[in-house]
Symmetry: C2
Subunit: 482 residues, 2 copies
């Protein structure tokens, strides 16, 4: 737990970054003598975002950083004392002062995994009081990271593998680490890089950038800006493009090659086609073949629809910068993850509300992905932790969620989904690098069948329960209504 050696730990979420009711409940558990009871929570989402049929799991590295640094300072405890009832037993605050995550165990989907509704992204076990306190920060760290990664992966699917996709949304994010999170996890989801320098410094995200209109306007008419690569500050045809060509040709004579041009307004696709024609013609005329393929970068509120247009066959656009529409996820700005108690003291627990959407699945569970002979995922299976794992080639009966009855499936391959990352507060194995998780996300997506991968009206991917889990749910439901 050497949090002090982690330069980011200071900036990591603090323990008091939580909802007040977590502290109230902590007090309640403590009063009831239950603070150290073993409890297990699951963090999952109920529906895939953006009308799609998949999500990407992300945020684990931030959760691990948070858990390792988790420790209430004296000032934190004093502050809690100031907002809890004045007659609170001082021994409760002593308990808080000694609290850390050294008894906490976390299983999770590796970052970049395909994730589906109801399948835990995180399973968090430990003393009831502390794992309850972790609810809000873990939700905060996983939900947005996974949403951004998923959004980025959709944009990558639309753009295809060849276009360079750059995240440029820092100024549109929810403050500093909204921006840092967006830059980090849009890269994980399939972008090529970001403009956010801090994400480069702290997370190793590849950086990219051009220049702003202010740079152009800061030079008077008589001065020539050193690199007039941004074409539309005044007029593309009348000043931006001619100026660019004049400078590019002059520098070309000296052996330098222009890197690219950028458009930030108007019909981006059409202008790119025109500019490419001009490049080709000038390239031939002045015998500078490299000029033909100078990169054309575009930006300006690009969403899924506009990206589809820019990525079409024959498009001359090479680089696409996206800000607002990757960072704010306007089609669905929250993944709506939840963190639900599934067992206490080894006993399964379940929320049996009148709203069936909000019911939970009880018990400590294992999760498996059942794959077809071609390696494509067929369904995800949730079962009780004590059950034997399903076996490749062996038929089994499962209960798809949302369906009326059971069905049978014979997987060609079986993959366990949840890995043990943190045991008794210790990291069990190094987390993959961000670039590794990014490659894993692309690999995972490439194996998903097109019917689930398509972005509009995809076929829902099935998540199913084992016989035993299904029976436990039925038993708890019957117990409640009897």
């Amino acid at each position: 737990m050497a949090a002090e050696q982690d330069p980011e730990a200071l900036a990591a979420a603090r323990p008091l970054l939580t909802d007040l009711y977590q502290a109230t409940m902590a007090l309640g558990y403590w009063h009831a003598g239950r603070a150290r009871e073993q409890a297990e929570f699951e963090l999952f989402f109920r529906g895939c975002p953006f009308g799609g049929a998949f999500a990407l799991a992300a945020g684990l590295r931030d959760c691990v950083r948070f858990l390792r640094a988790f420790r209430l300072q004296d000032a934190d405890v004093q502050f809690l004392a100031s907002v809890l009832p004045p007659d609170t037993d001082p021994a409760f605050f002593e308990h808080l002062r000694a609290l850390d995550c050294s008894d906490v165990t976390v299983r999770a989907l590796p970052e970049g995994s395909l994730a589906f509704p109801g399948v835990p992204l995180l399973q968090v076990c430990g003393p009831l009081l502390v794992v309850q306190l972790l609810e809000t920060p873990l939700l905060c760290l996983v939900s947005y990271a996974s949403l951004i990664a998923t959004n980025a992966s959709r944009l990558r699917l639309i753009a295809g593998p060849k276009k360079r996709l750059l995240e440029m949304g820092l100024r549109r994010a929810q403050g500093p680490d909204g921006g840092l999170t967006a830059s980090t996890y849009s890269y994980l989801g399939g972008f090529d890089g970001s403009s956010n320098v801090l994400a480069g410094q702290l997370r190793g995200v590849p950086l990219a950038g051009t220049l702003a209109h202010s740079f152009i306007t800061s030079f008077l008419g008589t001065e020539v800006p050193p690199d007039p690569g941004l074409l539309d500050t005044y007029s593309v045809q009348r000043s931006g493009l001619p100026n660019f060509l004049a400078v590019a040709l002059a520098l070309g004579e000296l052996g330098y090659r222009a890197v690219g041009v950028r458009l930030d307004s108007g019909d981006l696709l059409q202008q790119a086609q025109e500019i490419r024609r001009v490049f080709r013609s000038i390239s031939a005329q002045f015998q500078m073949p490299w000029l033909e393929s100078v990169s054309i970068a575009v930006s300006n509120n690009i969403d899924e629809e506009e990206l589809t247009r820019l990525a079409q066959e024959g498009s001359e656009v090479n680089v696409i910068g996206i800000g607002t529409n990757v960072v704010t996820c306007p089609r669905q700005p929250s993944l709506g993850c939840v963190y639900k108690l599934v067992s206490v003291g080894g006993q399964p627990r379940m929320k049996l509300t009148e709203d069936p959407e909000k019911q939970t699945l009880p018990g400590s569970k294992a999760a498996f992905r059942l794959l077809g002979a071609d390696g494509s995922p067929l369904l995800d299976l949730l079962q009780l932790a004590e059950e034997a794992p399903p076996r490749a080639g062996q038929e089994l009966r499962v209960w798809p969620r949302g369906a009326q009855g059971a069905c049978r499936v014979r997987p060609a391959h079986v993959e366990p989904l949840l890995r043990l990352w943190v045991q008794q507060g210790q990291l069990c194995e190094p987390l993959p690098s961000l670039a590794e998780s990014r490659a894993f996300a692309q690999l995972s997506l490439s194996r998903l069948s097109p019917e689930h991968k398509r972005l509009q009206q995809p076929a829902p991917y099935r998540v199913a329960l084992s016989d035993k889990l299904q029976a436990l749910v039925a038993r708890l439901r019957a117990g409640e209504s009897s």
Copy 2:
């Protein structure tokens, strides 16, 4: 600039929280010998959010904190050296190492002010290189804060003054300081408090909270949870409400009073009416008059439409918790602020793009709010800084933006809009407290006429240019097209 003494400075945005192109441009300015040229930028938005006709300005306190702490560390400069061209002159990095905001001056709308399109929220003057570098972080800090404050103020207008509005969206925010920003500025915009403990500790936001379903489900059937105030974990009518009443009456006998109940699913309005009827009847039956008015708190994805329903005449709901719909601003998740160069070396600059929406207003400016005899704002006037301020009672000609010609207006009162907060890096006067800014926001809104204040299809509020500013725009436009 005693940033070290500010406990939040560590968590404040760091200088490298910026787009790479800011560093590239800084290098360009430096090469051109222009790093220290006096420049002025304006930060503003182009359209009011959420289809409304106003916004609230916010985020200034975070900007001031950022400016005071702004200083590139050795590691930051080394990182920039690793991403800029390898042949970059080392003297440039020496320049960066010595950089701070001690030559920067900031004028701004006080937090909680009504803000309108094109009127600067911030005017930032200083050496060209440094004020360029500030673009991204200032946009990041102001845009979301103002968006949240505006969103919260709309929800307050719908709820009316009596309902208690609580922000509970930390788990839906874009990471830790997305959450902190949301809690802080939803309070500024008119909420009563937040569940976010860190916002209480760091910003003094009043805290509130109830408890989660997990608290209820953690107790087995035979145990009675200490405070079963959350009614819908299983069934409101069959378990939640009877359990609550049993405990409330037993505690009532001992002289304790139940604080409230919470509903988190189903038809919140209808259930609140039924629960109140039960409270009234039990209250009479057991002669516990206080029970009648026990607070009913509701939550569950409440948006403007549902809030309108919950706030209707006769509603028995007392406390309304909002998460996703205040924090993510789903109707418009970004305010889209911009930061535009308006003068360099005392010369006005303007972006004259082919997209008229993206043109800027040149020159160093002053801004005034012209008020009617009843104190309600008539229009905001932008003029050149050197012009004499408009005078109360004196008619003047102005050029409303978006209109064809000029019109005449005779203000009964005139208010200067932009205050000098930071001069040569020093704070000129203490910033108001968050609670003061909150009160100012409510006062400002109370003076806005209903036609601009209504949330659906409001009459746009006019922003106008003075004769001289209008003439400058025309001159620069003509110069460009000649």
